[in-house]
């Protein structure tokens, strides 16, 4: 690089600039080599008396998304004028090295460690097999005993872990099938002129072999809203595992937790490292186990996330018992708004599996007419029954 051939002063400045780029990287920016190079090259053009504009130019070059765009100024100040933010980055760095395991989530992720080990070494699983191979479904169906029991009654820790693992497998199996829908259809709607013409060359220009093409069907997009309030306590642990299986690694999906607030957890579920995932989730679920404001949370979802998360192929799954402390009118209004944006709206209520339970609480009554599908989710079998609902738009 030419900057290296220049006198010492420029070289020092280039060093500072590289330091700044590293500083941004530590704070989560993705800055490639070409950008770093361009930033150094820009040094020659920067007027030191015109720092404000220099900052604007560097921001245009180095920030790549809205969040980074907004954070940039602070980080710029911190680096070039050495104020507080820089130490953050260092702290964050060490944080990764010594992650504490918050107690609540230990059980969730203990076997996840094992699972990722198994994934790393395909022979260590000893026939358990990964869900992608389709085995997940088979194994799940053999476990009929666990299948039909109400998840509430799974008291024994071992049983619970087993149920969670099955749930994740089931969810993965669902995902697998759905993702496989992305394929070319044999019966097609449009003539592929390009290929037809190419084939016709051999026949002197007579299009005898016709080539057809169809738009591949796209997989549905799943958005899950999971209630983790106190009344759902018996199920939410297990559902979280289910959601993790469904969403983790599936690009076209999105997951949110809600109790009195709404939190997006997609990134945490995509996290490969189970310890990191656990740390993030546990930070996020502060307040878990309290009351529920379904309407308010849906409002937040509609305002902040819906535009991005939902499209005409979206299936929204709400997992909640419908015990809402907010006004049912708000719930109805927000649910209607949600319904307008999504293709299908599914509500899973674990209580529906209880004998003698009637969904008569206010929120459920208000929500009922808006739902495309209203089903129970108290056992693994009932979750498995969800598949046709997801496969059909």
């Amino acid at each position: 690089m030419c900057a290296l051939l220049e006198p010492d002063r420029t070289r020092a400045a280039a060093g500072r600039m590289i330091g700044f780029v590293n500083h941004l990287r530590l704070n989560g920016f993705v800055v490639g080599l070409p950008e770093a190079e361009a930033a150094v090259a820009l040094l020659g053009d920067l007027d030191l008396h015109d720092l404000a504009n220099g900052r604007l130019r560097l921001r245009a070059l180095l920030a790549k998304r809205k969040q980074e765009w907004e954070d940039f100024d602070d980080l710029f100040e911190a680096y070039w004028f050495a104020s507080g933010r820089r130490r953050d980055a260092w702290q964050r760095k060490t944080e990764h090295r010594k992650p504490e395991r918050p107690g609540v989530w230990n059980e969730h992720f203990a076997k996840d460690d094992a699972a990722s080990d198994a994934a790393g070494n395909p022979h260590s699983g000893g026939g358990e097999g990964e869900a992608e191979s389709g085995d997940g479904r088979l194994i799940a169906s053999r476990q009929h005993y666990l299948h039909t029991r109400d998840l509430r009654h799974l008291a024994d820790r071992g049983e619970l872990l087993e149920a969670e693992r099955l749930a994740e497998r089931l969810a993965r199996a669902l995902r697998y099938r759905l993702a496989r829908r992305y394929r070319l259809e044999a019966a097609a709607e449009r003539l592929d002129l390009r290929r037809t013409l190419r084939r016709s060359l051999a026949k002197g220009g007579d299009p005898i072999d016709l080539a057809w093409r169809a738009r591949p069907e796209e997989p549905v997009r799943v958005v899950v809203l999971l209630d983790v309030s106190g009344s759902m306590d018996l199920y939410s642990r297990f559902f979280l595992q289910f959601v993790k299986g469904l969403v983790g690694g599936w690009a076209e999906s999105d997951a949110y937790l809600f109790h009195t607030r709404l939190l997006r957890i997609t990134e945490s579920l995509h996290e490969r490292d189970p310890i990191k995932a656990m740390t993030r989730l546990s930070l996020m679920t502060a307040g878990m186990g309290g009351g529920t404001e379904i309407g308010g949370c849906l409002k937040v979802f509609n305002e902040r996330y819906a535009k991005r998360a939902l499209n005409a192929r979206s299936v929204v799954i709400v997992m909640s018992d419908g015990y809402d402390t907010g006004a049912p009118e708000l719930l109805t209004k927000e649910l209607a708004r949600l319904k307008r944006r999504a293709r299908r709206l599914i509500w899973l209520n674990p209580l529906l599996g209880w004998r003698d339970y009637e969904p008569v609480n206010r929120a459920m009554v208000a929500a009922r007419p808006l739902l495309d599908h209203f089903a129970t989710a108290h056992s693994l079998e009932s979750l498995a029954a969800l598949e046709p609902q997801l496969a059909r738009l």
């Binding site: 245009a60 920030a63 907004e70 016709s200 220009g205 991005r308």
Partner: protein
């Protein structure tokens, strides 16, 4: 402007902003800086922001500023290579095959001929890179196109070349200044972001919006323009489903002018309410902004 990386310093931003204003675009400093760098480094510029903040106008202003032709590619779901890059002219190809049927030409010769550039229909992207004069290429609402299309774009945006399997790689004759816009309805891939400079375009502040309105609707009384901009700024702070953009403000200004409302506070409330169809674009918003709310906002703006 040259594509030299070093050498003469950059033009001061205020000067660039003045030149942009001269062609009818009121840029704020961050946007001007981004535009300038994008021209200098010859990198595409990705503009993200709410609908109606004037992202598309940036490309038009850039074209006017540089005296270049503007080529626009409007993205939509299902946009594919044949609509964006190139397409073979099948009718002409078939015709050519028929025409050569009797002169016993070699099949290879025919193939060579009908898969040549003469039989290629240029769609916006190919058009942009094969123009002799550099153009401004606007790829509008890239978030509407599907992810597969983004991947097509990468080759064009980073190397300025297009590969046609039958023909080989067509390299750019000139490098277009590229502007991509996105309403952020979908997260764009990192690969695409990496190839672009980025600028987030926000709603303009009061002073800038006033300048835009006065410039675009010159017949408008200054006092009314101030009121109107104040009203729209206050309206954006309300809890609405769809916030009015600059285009809406301009529509409304024109409407008020047409309706003969000279002053928001003293004008006929019913007419004023009716004119709000220019600003409020959903049923919910129209219901939410009742006459009392309008009166309150007018009070704030006055």
């Amino acid at each position: 402007m040259t594509s030299e990386r070093r050498g003469e310093g950059l033009e001061p931003l205020p000067a660039l902003m003045d030149r942009l204003a001269a062609v009818g675009y009121m840029a704020d400093p961050p946007l001007a800086a981004a535009l300038q760098l994008s021209l200098k480094l010859n990198r595409p510029l990705l503009l993200e922001g709410e609908a109606g903040v004037g992202k598309t106008e940036v490309a038009k202003a850039l074209a006017a500023l540089e005296g270049r032709r503007l080529i626009r590619l409007q993205c939509y779901e299902g946009l594919d290579a044949s609509a964006a890059l190139y397409e073979w002219n099948y009718q002409r190809q078939l015709l050519a095959i028929k025409a050569h049927e009797h002169d016993r030409a070699e099949a290879e010769a025919i193939e060579e001929q009908i898969f040549s550039e003469r039989y290629l229909l240029r769609r916006p992207l190919l058009e942009a890179i094969s123009s002799d004069e550099p153009v401004v290429l606007l790829i509008d609402e890239i978030d509407r196109a599907d992810e597969a299309f983004e991947a097509y774009l990468l080759e064009v945006l980073s190397d300025y070349q297009i590969t046609v399997p039958e023909l080989g790689t067509i390299a750019a004759r000139s490098r277009p200044a590229t502007v991509l816009t996105s309403n952020a309805t979908r997260e764009l891939s990192d690969a695409l972001r990496r190839r672009c400079l980025y600028s987030y375009v926000d709603f303009p502040d009061e002073a800038r919006e006033l300048a835009i309105v006065l410039r675009r609707v010159p017949d408008l009384d200054r006092r009314l323009a101030e009121q109107l901009v104040g009203f729209v700024q206050a309206l954006r702070k309300e809890d609405l489903e769809k916030l009015p953009g600059i285009a809406e403000t301009l529509d409304w200004a024109a409407a008020l002018l047409g309706l003969g409302i000279g002053d928001l506070a003293s004008g006929d409330p019913a007419t004023l309410q009716a004119s709000l169809v220019c600003l409020l674009k959903t049923e919910g918003d129209q219901k939410a902004v009742v006459p009392e709310v309008v009166a309150r906002l007018v009070g704030k703006a006055a």
